[in-house]
Symmetry: C2
Subunit: 323 residues, 2 copies
Amino acid sequence: MDTQKPYVIGVDLGGTNTVFGIVDARGQIVAEDSIKTQNYKTAEAFVEAGVACLKPLIAQVGGVEKIAGMGIGAPNGNYYTGTIEIAPNLCWAHDCIVPLADMFSKEIGVPVHLTNDANAAALGEMAYGAARGMKNFIVITLGTGVGSGIVINGQLVYGHDGFAGELGHVTMVRGEEGRKCGCGRTGCLECYCSATGVARTAREILSNTVRPSLLREKDPETIESLDVSIAAGKGDAVAQEIFDFTGKMLGEACADFAAFSSPEAFIFFGGLCKAGDLIMKPIEAAYNNHVLPIFKGKAKFLVSGLMNANAAVLGASALGWEE
Amino acid sequence: MDTQKPYVIGVDLGGTNTVFGIVDARGQIVAEDSIKTQNYKTAEAFVEAGVACLKPLIAQVGGVEKIAGMGIGAPNGNYYTGTIEIAPNLCWAHDCIVPLADMFSKEIGVPVHLTNDANAAALGEMAYGAARGMKNFIVITLGTGVGSGIVINGQLVYGHDGFAGELGHVTMVRGEEGRKCGCGRTGCLECYCSATGVARTAREILSNTVRPSLLREKDPETIESLDVSIAAGKGDAVAQEIFDFTGKMLGEACADFAAFSSPEAFIFFGGLCKAGDLIMKPIEAAYNNHVLPIFKGKAKFLVSGLMNANAAVLGASALGWEE
């Protein structure tokens, strides 16, 4: 690290807000501000607003000469090209390829790297979180969707085209009975283990049985994964069964991932992990039940080390340290 | 490459024969000999016989000072430790850990690396075969079992413990209806796409239907995958259906692998590939039908570039060039 440049910029570009943070080498966010992602019609207008938001933050830490680089975590971000490609949820990038890294680099005057949110999370875990010192691990993000960032030999896996690490879209249920996925296919891990997937499992179990549950106090259509977490935390048996089902899917998927890259740890990130052992124990049990004997008992199952900070900003900022 | 040391030694350690070859930088085997793997009671006796077999070959190319290194491809070989660990099919290593790389290195006086057969095949493809110039590819070996060697960012994936790349043991059929696998689990890719898996598919289709087929000329219990290849080559519809089923399993598995590492190519190795398009077309079709839209049509499906040479020796020899 260049001691003359002790800070990086991390950008969490989300569908609603884009958060800019200045981060030091220990992973402390020393300055932060945000803009509304969708208030701009064009990528140019978005970048202009972003630069205006960043300038005062940069001034706070002593100017751009203190900044080593900038990292952006963004939906459909491609590391190799520094572009956002056809991102359905961004009004200024839904039908085009936006060279966002170059655009920011030109305006700010520092190197800018860009990748997708889950990859940024993996870099964040490696730089400041649960994966410090690890060379082989997989981060699985459990949110609206299921994403992943894979690190092998200390390097993030981007693949041939920059889009590797889509583990939310491995097929867990083949054929007709698989749930329909947002990607246009069926049976993907994401359909079962995303927040929406968990809510759907809840509705299915509630409508297929008459078992009593705290979850019956809500209109089934409004049940969210957080409700399941709360009910499970209170010892609700149906809620725990929903977590057991979700954990079994995740654990069996991880068993296949072990056959691929045999990681030291699987690190889970996102709201669902706040349920702690209620979800983590079923994942680990299903993994050890299902994995190839040679891998049994070897992998660690960890909750993100970044949960309480602004993890997405930290993760993206880790890209800023790259050459 | 050290031009003073223009050769490497490649060793294909199989259940029956162990083949030693001296290989040049272009992938030509310039000298070769073999011993019977199981004629020795102890690892020490095996190494002694191997060294005796190698000495005249080394002399042929001008002595050990012409040799850059030695690579061994062996069942249950661990790259990190240079050991063979509990290899059920080797009488002198079935219940112990043999430090084979160190043992040979001490006797021959060159650096020795060791890995499993499929990883050696991947290194061979990268050094001399279909993957020359590629940084991201997966080799899938279709033999008695299904093995794999995965290359990401130009490096073989060994994982945290040295045993990564067991893609024959991802689960393709979950639950009760999965075929029983030699690994003790059910539904593994290997149960469907190994030579034994293909023969089993043949027996199932023949006994479940009365459709005419050239395969009916044989006692069902003696049908081998080669018979299926020959029948398919003659236009036999049942044989082609067996290949379509096998190809569908492999193509769908590759779709999951793409979600992991998005490789430039999948390279298939082993007897089944000799059927050419009869098996490769179904694999590619199933892949493109099943893969996440972002990956569709991007990956190449190739047959090994080493099929006509002594591929296992070449593959292992590629390890000899490593530092």
